[in-house]
Amino acid sequence: MLLADTRIDDFKTERKGIAPPLPMIMRLVPLLFYLSLLFLVVVGSFASLHARLSSNHRNTVLARIETLKKDIEDTKKERSALEAQISEAMDLEAWVLASMPLQPLAVAIIRSLGNQPEIVDFTLERDAETPSQLRMSLRLNTPSDKQLEQTLEVIRAMNYREFNPTQTRVQGNLDYKANLLWQDPRSGRQTPEERASQTGVTP
């Protein structure tokens, strides 16, 4: 059975307390809600992905930083070890360069005197603070100073330079004192074999 619309409407009871409709602009609210959900999903996903990639990258860089720190530490240790080696080497070198053999010098000085004068006293003493310097003291029983000149020539020929010389004559003896400096001890770094070959001169 068909009923007319107007007649059905007539059956509706009057409803009380129905809220008045919201303004038209509020129709955008559901749309905005869906858009905000879309924003959350898209931005959240990208941000999470980005954060995870960045975090992985950060961890890789941190691992590289640890390796770099270790390398720096190792290099510093190597440098310290090398510096200790150099310090020891410098001490040993200083000893070697200042411990030149004295026998050839002593033999040369005695030989330079020939047979005429007589050595009363001859001393070579190494300066404790400056071991490349020697204090020489020579007392000769000779009437002439010529002999001393010859001896000094021999000393110079052996690469020693005398300084602060004093010369006195006491009771017929000629006293000569001087400091001897081995000239340029760093000019040649001899091997132990070269050094050994220099000494042991036959008197």
Partner: protein, 186 residues
């Protein structure tokens, strides 16, 4: 406030919350990126530091190469502190072997100082003070021979004067043997 308005407010709050959450995720990602930039900066600084350290080391190696090679040849000739007894007996044996007339011999262990400063690498000296009265050439040959067989030995003092007989000399000799710190002694 009617239910429709209340619903609208709740949905608006949901929108705000969703946007806030989205922004929070983005800020978090940005913060991690900033941190990455920071550690990258630190890495760069450390790379520069490592390069500088390596340069210094290379320079030091280059500068010290000749010195270390020179000293390496001499090192075996330096007696170690642990060998002090043999250093002393080595000299007294050589004195005895030659059968020279020895008036006195004295051995001391003295700290090695230069300008009142301890020598760290060669801390101890064996100092032998020997007094001979014998033939001139025999004495000088022995003296030269000692310098030949012990190239690191140093003559601290040599004093020659007339001996008791015609050709004889009285020779006072102070020999110094440095003792090196062993690799284990630090």
């Amino acid at each position: 406030m009617n239910p429709k308005q209340l619903g609208a407010v709740i949905i608006l709050a949901g929108i705000l919350l969703a946007v806030q959450l989205g922004m929070m995720f983005q800020n978090k990602a940005r913060a991690v990126e900033v941190e990455v930039e920071k550690v990258k900066g630190e890495e760069k600084g450390l790379e520069t530091q490592l390069a500088a350290e390596k340069d210094i080391l290379t320079d030091l190696q280059r500068q010290s190469d000749e010195l270390l090679k020179f000293v390496a040849k001499w090192k075996p000739f330096f007696a170690l502190i642990e060998e002090k007894q043999s250093a002393e007996t080595g000299i007294s044996m050589k004195v005895r072997e030659e059968g020279m007339l020895t008036l006195s011999q004295r051995y001391q262990q003295v700290p090695h100082k230069i300008n009142n400063k301890d020598n760290v690498s060669l801390p101890v000296l064996i100092r032998a003070t020997l007094l001979f009265d014998d033939n001139y050439s025999k004495l000088l040959m022995w003296f030269g021979n000692m310098e030949k067989i012990k190239p690191t030995m140093r003559v601290g003092r040599l004093a020659l004067s007339k001996g008791s007989r015609g050709e004889d000399l009285r020779m006072e000799l102070v020999l110094e043997i440095p003792l090196r710190k062993g690799s284990g002694a630090k």
